[in-house]
């Protein structure tokens, strides 16, 4: 009964490839996010999605594209992978937008290594 799950947990690929990371939440939350954690453990928001609509894209290269087939899923597609894309990517979800609830629940992360 994992709340926020991600697949795969590890992803090793070569430069120039296209890859996807999947995220699913079974919490019934309205908003989902993607964060990137670099080698220094710095966490930074990439995307926010609410009800299948993109809300925020924080200066992320357009090689990265979030896709939400439904409210419970937010997948991350990455085209033309670069060495600098190596990081841990976290999916998160929160109940609703606005002051009512800010709590975000994170998935276990996907460690992407680009060689």
């Amino acid at each position: 009964d994992t709340a926020v799950s991600q697949t795969p947990k590890y992803l090793v690929t070569q430069m120039g490839n296209d890859k996807s990371i999947k995220c699913e939440q079974n919490l019934g939350h309205d908003t989902m996010y993607w964060y990137k954690q670099d080698s220094k453990k710095f966490l930074k928001i990439m995307f926010s999605y609410n009800n299948k609509e993109l809300i925020i894209n924080e200066t992320v290269p357009n090689r990265f594209s979030p896709k939400s087939p439904d409210k419970a899923h937010l997948n991350l597609h990455i085209n033309s992978l670069e060495l600098g894309d190596s990081a841990v990517y976290f999916c998160a979800s929160s109940p609703k937008i606005g002051r009512a609830s800010y709590e975000q629940y994170f998935g276990p992360g996907t460690r992407l290594t680009v060689t």
């Binding site: 908003t31 926010s48 925020i56 929160s94 937008i97 606005g98 800010y102 975000q104």
Partner: protein
Amino acid sequence: QQQVKQSPQSLIVQKGGISIINCAYENTAFDYFPWYQQFPGKGPALLIAIRPDVSEKKEGRFTISFNKSAKQFSLHIMDSQPGDSATYFCAATDDQTGANNLFFGTGTRLTVIP
């Protein structure tokens, strides 16, 4: 630029001691300040959070102290235990963007020595 500044970068505390991690922010629109705990190989997990209308919040051994005028907040871990060894992140957010994006501090790696 770094919206939330966190210190220290690493902290070593004896078992039973008090761990203190400090954070500061500039954006006065921030109105929610959570702390996240992250164990190696795991995602961050919400530990405790505070809103600016109170100066302190306590949950078990964990206390947040909040100073609105100084735009600072801190996490105190009382009676620190080896199981508390993890990386701690402070964060802040507001509802202006409509998405409650969390702006994280740079993290503090806490080691509690038995």
